[in-house]
């Protein structure tokens, strides 16, 4: 006599659900970067926090990542650490989502962006004809090769605080909207600051 054990319904359902969710984790969606969308998102949330995301003490890269994802429509890349999601009541995020140097590495190594240029103190002019709205800026404060801060280019206009006309950015940590991209008027030590720009695609 053969006895067959019936699998409970909830086990089958959770198996299907797990398979369904893991399918989405490994699917790579091809999408084009919406620089305009990223800029609009950055301008909306430059001086406040989006309650749909976690908030960090050093929030710069979390903010740039949000702009790239929410406004720029770049899909999460969970395998390479660029994601941020709420699971039940806690947040999960990857290092590339929240750490400037890791985001830089993710953008450039995964072919998600092209390298635009590098500027030290004596090449940081107010206008920069290589920069376009939607470009991501990375700042290395002490010229040690590790990028400590990130921001997003949003407009060519007048910085309302310094009065300088030029390329402006939005950033978090010290929250700024439409700040001159080289940040010289706000920097205690501008001489050792190196800035690079990348263009998501």
């Amino acid at each position: 006599m053969i006895v067959t054990k019936q699998v409970p319904k909830y086990v089958t359902l959770s198996l299907i659900l797990t398979l369904f969710l893991s399918f989405f984790n490994c699917v790579k969606v091809d999408a084009y970067y919406s620089s305009g969308g990223a800029v609009r998102y950055a301008d909306t949330w430059a001086l406040s926090r989006n309650p749909d995301y976690p908030n960090f003490d050093k929030d710069c890269t979390n903010f740039v990542s949000q702009a790239l994802h929410e406004g720029g429509l770049i899909p999460f890349d969970k395998q390479r650490g660029w994601y941020c999601e709420k699971v039940l009541w806690w947040w999960n995020w990857g290092q590339a989502w929240s750490v400037a140097d890791s985001l830089r590495y993710w953008l450039l190594s995964a072919n998600n962006a092209i390298y635009i240029g590098r500027w030290d103190y004596n090449s940081q002019s107010d206008f920069n004809f290589l920069l376009k709205p939607g470009d991501v800026l990375f700042y290395d404060w002490n010229s040690d090769g590790t990028y400590d801060h990130s921001a997003i280019v949003v407009v060519y206009a007048r910085d309302p605080n310094s009065g300088i006309n030029g390329v402006l950015q939005d950033q978090h940590t010290t929250d700024r909207k439409w700040a001159i991209w080289h940040l010289k008027p706000y920097n205690l030590n501008p001489w050792s600051t190196i800035i690079i720009a990348v263009r998501p695609q």
Partner: protein
């Protein structure tokens, strides 16, 4: 005979105690001297920033032309200062010379109509100074301020309703040309704050030199 033996033993014990005390104090004095010397090196290295600033007659406005002899003199000055305090054995000397030369040249031929007027340290708090033989580590909070003068357009004639998608490089070039024609006024910027510095030092031929240096802005003082 027994008394004599006791006397000699007592004398030997006394000599040992005195020698130990002298040795310990000598070591403490040496340690103290090392600590003072390390702090002096760190302070002097941080002060190179103020030495990269031009004399006051050239910092009233960023459009005052700086004579090339003065630029060369400043470059030599900061290079020599770097050589005094940074180790040539690690890459830090070359890196610091590059940073300070960039500062000198950047202020002389400023691409952004900004010139440094003054950079000064208001206070240094040494949080940790650890010496182990011929190497040392230092952590210090540097309270400083940076004063700059800039020429900015008096009027804002920029159309701010342009969509991001319409902000092409050609648009930026037009804006740049318009900005160049606008009358300008002088303004000053004066960021103040605290940076936390981390130094490693090593004694080279009896002289303490910095072998690595790093800093970050304390919360609330990031640019």
């Amino acid at each position: 005979m027994k008394k004599r033996k006791l006397f000699v033993l007592g004398l030997l014990a006394l000599i040992t105690v005195v020698a130990t005390i002298i040795g310990y104090n000598a070591k403490s004095i040496q340690q103290l001297n090392n600590e003072e010397e390390i702090k002096r090196v760190v302070k002097s290295a941080l002060n190179i920033y103020s030495k990269s600033v031009y004399p006051s007659e050239y910092t009233k406005s960023p459009d005052i032309k700086i004579p090339s002899q003065l630029i060369d003199r400043k470059i030599n000055e900061v290079t020599q200062e770097c050589e005094k305090y940074y180790s040539a054995k690690s890459g830090i000397l070359a890196n610091k010379i590059k940073v300070f030369q960039t500062a000198v040249l950047g202020d002389a031929y400023s691409p952004s109509d900004i010139r440094t007027v003054e950079w000064k340290i208001n206070n240094i708090k040494f949080l940790e100074t650890r010496i182990e033989g011929d190497t040392a580590t230092v952590i210090a909070d540097v309270y400083c301020e940076n004063k700059m003068v800039a020429l900015i357009p008096i009027d804002n004639k920029i159309n701010e309703s342009v969509k991001p998608e319409e902000m092409t490089i050609e648009y930026q070039k037009r804006l740049y040309e318009e900005t160049q024609k606008l009358p300008k006024k002088l303004v000053t910027y004066n960021p103040k704050g605290v940076m936390r510095y981390y130094f490693n030092l090593a004694k080279e031929n009896g002289i303490w030199k910095i072998t690595s240096e790093n800093f970050n802005y304390l919360p609330g003082y990031e640019p």
